[in-house]
Symmetry: D2
Subunit: 180 residues, 4 copies
């Protein structure tokens, strides 16, 4: 996920070789966040998706996603990746409960779950995170686009999401009560 | 919901007139259950939908649904409606947690939520309930049909479900991690 | 709950006699909110409890609580009762998900559940709600007091809470990961 | 957790040295299960706790706990550790939803969270699992004892639980609606 999702600027202490080795031996823990806009009553009105070029130079969409570092709490990891992907002025509101709306299991080979990551076996705790400020994605993200829940759940957008995250996106909408 | 869903055999003490009056003055509390078959690891493999003729003699599909009576616990109500709709040999496994996977708000007029019930304002706590025995729906239900999660989430089945419950069904599949 | 909790200024159309009658015949739907302060990472740092005199003139503590009106969404009811109890400048952040952290079943007689309400059978959907503004309880609430999670979970505070809501408060802290 | 919790008989391919190295560089993913007995309506009536001697030869209590292996689904890991700790005739009913009731973050140093594991940074997804059969713990577990929810939540039992799992146990009881 890091190559196309959230780069880990702090991970220099773990060499690329080391990380590559771990990824073949252990499930790697991730956090993911679906950025949303909410109205005054908390209803999700818009969903923010990141548009990126993946390693095959195809345009794909994704959500905020990144690895949990050794010694780092889930909340710290979530905040770090939100800031990396949405910029320092997004003002994300992390949920009071640490229980994710879904747990996504990514495997190197397809078929075992809806999720796939050719680099690794990753297990991701996924959260819905309202953002109240201005999102300014880093340069490696081409664009952050806001969609209505209906648009976000459409087959076209779902099919553009990498690694099966269209399923995760629909689960996010369902948990917020706005899946069409 | 009672007319096409789960009749309340115990409700004789509340006359039809009284119930009709309450339904115009107060939100009415319901419980709903999505019956499922699970494999040995708890994965949902099939979803059971009730096929009924609604008041317009159209064939529609629904889930187990019924009112909570005065003095009755949610679990008692859930068990009573499961037994009414699936028969005494269904052996439902009620969840350890009383927290529903979703809360559905039915209003007499469409548009406010995905859910609608022309008779009343009803608020329903919805649960996924594995059943391990043999389902034998009462005569007012024409048929109980088992679908794979993929079939259950398909536009055709979703469109056949009454009162917007296709949305609730998809939310159930999402919460179980089997929404396609 | 209304007498000591959240008054319903809009309920004039439902006479006291009518409401009293419904309360003996139907479960009454409530929403409840545990107001909290959170830090920049979403961790609950303080819990707000309302101190009131109950109908026996004893000092008791409670949370935001009130009835859902006919035709009113859960979010509207939640917002209305939060505003009534905490004032117009509390700026509550209603959760993106409509699924409560717990469902409390209040019965007129004790023993069936941890919760009791001598006036009625009430079923309450309970939410944790971060507030970011200034709380200014109405006159019928003597005081809003902020407690640390440790203080809020202490036997003394739990025992001061009316209707068994100390149990609900502990469940709120557990769901936020801050129950000691 | 493995040394005092659930041994991983399949982990021979990962040498002790390798695992020790990973544990200093990456958060390690765990699953944990609170075994419970439920009545016909799904209410938790008893909680099963494992009594073991820890590495200091003190008697401590714990729950089912173990590492997720590379390539293994969460459900497979959960089932494997339940079978290891409770024997092949426990007949655990894994939940339909893969969302845990809580996420426990164990750190080598105390204070950051309620949970501590001197060997590693571990992140555990915790589930309530009803068991319907006969539990026959392996020899390294001295005893499986069933407690009522009241007993399990008592300060004495909570204080006997290793790594801060008394907090996790209380959260389990709260999520099942049976925390006193």
């Amino acid at each position: 996920m890091a190559s196309v999702g959230t780069p880990d600027p702090n991970s220099a202490w773990l060499s690329d070789d080391e990380l590559a080795m771990y990824r073949r031996r252990m499930p790697v823990l991730y956090v993911e966040a679906v950025p949303v806009r909410v109205d005054g009553l908390g209803v999700v009105t818009e969903v923010g998706l990141l548009m990126r070029a993946n390693s095959e130079d195809e345009i794909t969409r994704t959500i905020v996603s990144g690895r949990v570092m050794y010694g780092e709490t889930l909340r710290d990891a979530l905040f770090r990746h939100l800031e990396n992907d949405l910029g320092p002025m997004a003002f994300p509101q992390l949920p009071a409960s640490p229980v994710p709306f879904s747990v996504a299991e990514y495997f190197p080979l397809p078929g075992l779950t809806p999720y796939m990551d050719s680099r690794q076996h990753a297990v991701s705790l996924a959260y819905i995170v309202p953002v109240t400020g201005t999102c300014d994605p880093r340069q490696d993200a081409l664009e952050l686009t806001w969609f209505t829940p209906e648009e976000a759940a459409s087959p076209r957008i779902v099919s553009e999401m990498e690694g099966g995250r269209g399923t995760l996106l629909r689960a996010a909408l369902a948990s917020a009560g706005v899946l069409p």
